[in-house]
């Protein structure tokens, strides 16, 4: 597994993930009326075949919601939880928050949570970088993380060999729900993100 990101570039991308992830988890904390703790973000630019090793535990069953991003950059935001954590989170949010009436089953609730979280994350990144992209229709599934990820990487692989991946792990305090936020960009989008980030940092 070879990560080809220079340290300064990795720092910029970690900061970007901090900003986006912090907004997403703040939205989650508001919805669940609970504290949400976040870890330090991880970031790597990898050949597609090496990304499953970065994510790890490819045989573990995860509930993932997948939010494609489109606009000036293309990519995916993924939210992943263990199966039990996903059920607990869906139940808590149904009880605690004002989700739309009719959103009852766990998969639909997780998609809705993902929509709100990815919206917060993207808005924060858009605002920070001054570039425009948005989420499109989400999808979700529960299966081995390697199988889900492999299918997403195959979509990226149709036009790219590598992808930028960032991960932010979080924990919701009371129910000890663990989750991960992943941002995946293809190389062209990575360059646009980096260019905007460097411009922003130089200007400040």
């Amino acid at each position: 597994m070879t990560d080809r990101l220079p340290p300064f570039t990795a720092d910029i991308l970690r900061e970007l993930m901090n900003i986006g992830g912090a907004h997403a988890t703040t939205a989650l904390a508001k919805m669940s009326h609970d504290k949400v703790f976040i870890d330090l973000p991880e970031v790597a630019l990898l050949k597609l075949e090496h990304i499953p090793d970065f994510v790890g535990a490819s045989q573990n069953v995860q509930s993932m919601t997948i939010h494609p991003m489109a606009g000036e950059v293309n990519g995916f935001i993924l939210f992943s939880y263990g199966q039990i954590d996903a059920s607990s989170l869906a139940k808590r949010i149904r009880e605690q928050s004002g989700l739309k009436n009719g959103v009852n089953d766990a998969a639909a609730i997780l998609n809705e949570i993902g929509n709100i979280l990815s919206g917060s994350c993207i808005r924060a990144i858009n605002q920070f970088l001054g570039i425009s992209f948005s989420q499109t229709i989400p999808d979700g599934t529960t299966d081995m993380s390697g199988a889900i990820l492999g299918s997403i990487l195959a979509e990226i692989g149709q036009h790219a060999d590598d992808a930028l991946i960032t991960r932010l792990s979080f924990r919701e305090e009371k129910l000890a729900i663990d989750g991960n936020i992943y941002l995946l960009f293809d190389p062209d989008s990575t360059q646009i993100v980096l260019h905007a980030a460097k411009k922003k940092i130089t200007a400040s």
Partner: protein, 154 residues
């Protein structure tokens, strides 16, 4: 018994008392070739078909592509001593994990299955076992001592 793990974009050939295993096959496809006479088997785990790939992509990452990985696996098998006329294939994978990509002409899983069948047919290798399609990911294991392909879903 020793297990050889085959990752996405890899091929491995082995002989004797081994298990060949690959995890989390979603829309990707796993192909196993087996020469029961010599007890040699090889496994590959490819991600895509070549229809949208550039020449550079095919040159730099040939094992990513079904149509290139199958001939490469056949070559490795014969190099290890297998007879091409004895080879039998097992194929697994090609699921459609999401509904995001409704366009059937762009569904990667079924395209991978079709490409694998064509490449095996072109090579004159019969398919002995198939577990493809659906919406679930698979763990794929091949037992050299029994010649059986075992699929696990979760």
């Amino acid at each position: 018994m020793e297990t050889v793990i085959v990752k996405m974009g890899e091929i491995h050939v082995t002989q004797g008392e081994f298990l060949l295993e690959t995890f989390g096959v979603g829309s990707c496809i796993a192909v196993i070739l087996h020469d029961p006479e010599k007890n040699i088997a090889g496994m590959m785990h490819a991600m895509l078909t070549t229809d949208k790939a550039t020449q550079t992509q095919m040159t730099t990452n040939p094992l990513r592509y079904v149509e290139l990985a199958i001939p490469a696996l056949v070559k490795e098998m014969t190099k290890a001593g297998a007879s091409k006329q004895h080879l039998k294939a097992s194929i697994a994978g090609g699921a459609q994990m999401f509904t995001l990509y409704h366009d059937p002409s762009n569904a990667i899983g079924p395209k991978n299955v079709e490409a694998a069948k064509k490449a095996l047919n072109d090579a004159g290798i019969p398919i002995e076992y198939e577990d493809t399609g659906g919406t679930k990911g698979r763990n794929v294991r091949f037992e050299l001592h029994t010649g059986k392909c075992v699929i696990e879903t979760k």
